[in-house]
Amino acid sequence: MSIDPLILAGARARGKRPAFLELPESDRLLSMLMALASDVAVMRERLDTVERLLDTKGVVTRADIEGFKPDRNAAYERGLLHRELVARLMRGVQQDMEALVEAEQSLEDISLELRDS
């Protein structure tokens, strides 16, 4: 038997999973959100490890990090990083907004139209 650790690690436990939230999609979204939160926390801890090691080894002190002020170019690049992340997060909201001002036929209607035209 071949083992795919990636899939096996996340395997389902036997036993019907209760429906907690109103919509099954909400339950799934919450699972994803919590996994994401976990990995953000893991990354933050890893960063903390790096900071502390740099500090103890005298490479970069935590005071250096706390007192760091980016120059204008760096500040822009970092601002852009934040803005890009926000834009990725808000994709769905943005697309809802765009859809509000553009009356559209359903794909089903278009598909019927194309079949018959």
């Binding site: 096996l8 996340g10 036997r14 036993g15 907690f20 939230l21």
Partner: protein, 412 residues
Amino acid sequence: MKKRDDIPPDYREVKRHGVFPEVAHDEAARFNFLANLNRHVAGVLGAGNKAAYETRVLPAFVKAEGRAPKDRFEIRHAMNRDPYHRFWSAMKRNSMEMRQQAGRAMVLRQLDDLGVKAAALNMGQDTLELHPEVAVPRYQAAVDIHCMPGSYYTEAAPGDVLAGANYDCGIFATTGGALGGLTDGGGQALVKWISEARPGWVPGRVLDIGCTIGHNVVPLALAFPETEFWAIDTAAPSLRYAHARARSLGATNIRFVQMNAEDLSRFPDGHFDWVQTTMFLHELSGKALPRIIAEGARVLAPGGLMLHLEQPAYTEKMPLFEQFMRDWDAFNNNEPFWSAMHSLDIPAIMDAAGLPKDHQFSIRVAAEVDPDIFPAAASGSEEDYGRAAAWDAYGVWKPQGDALKALREAAE
């Protein structure tokens, strides 16, 4: 600023033994996150359940029914319609599933290495007896207990230790470290208790039923090095791991045997001086539990000790809301016998097995852990019901000599 007392210790405080998985930086961090998540969800947000119950669920129930809920089941059905409780439950369920995934991922990536380590510790030892003909009982097979994929008994590869290693490495996250560095706070508590209850007593033979990875029997075996310990379970992958784990911790006086405790016919009457279970009875069934207690009573020597560690029973004194909260794992964390078990009259079942009530006792024991590192068990409103590192023990000293004779005569 004063330090908070609800921050679990770092995962790297978990003590390593010979078959404990290697822990990478991010794996430790992931367990740290989960331990803190659990403390927060149980200790901080758990209180919202009672608030939701008192402010809206109970008033709505009373308005609709003209009375208060009559049992924990009615409360559960009502609470399962409440958005706060639903969301809280969803988060708690996810944290369980995430813990399983984290533990399995860590073990699976080194499964072969762990197998080699376990085999080296197990090889040539007659103290590990696996009997593949032992069937997985229905109460183990019906669902995967604790949402552990594959439960205690499934192998990902022949002869592996996945189930045991995964169970071992994740308990820290579930309990926030409250069971101590070797997850043996329960066993350590028993060592302390017996040394105070019967100073100087050295049992000749001890039977630990449903031992899983042996975490609660090893402290006893180390405390009584001359005693012959038998630790039994139906799950081979757990036993394989348990035996290697015990060996690496220096406990060589435990015989781990794959066996179903409903049939202890291998042992003659009165064979053991101490028969125990720790956090095991709730994973059985309505018929298996009394059978196991009866078999345990039979193989217990007159004057011997029977002891069962469990979470508190649902007595009339326990508020219905607390019973409902304690029942969460039954329906949301795959513990299908949990609810029924905690309303059983265990003293009566022991009595029926020939261990009379007037020889019984009950004690409250809390996990014995290094308080410098591991947090004290939370209690009261912050308690993580069902998972608190404190237990009620049902105990009985089997009558001997004249007392036993008198009982038999009374029965006739």
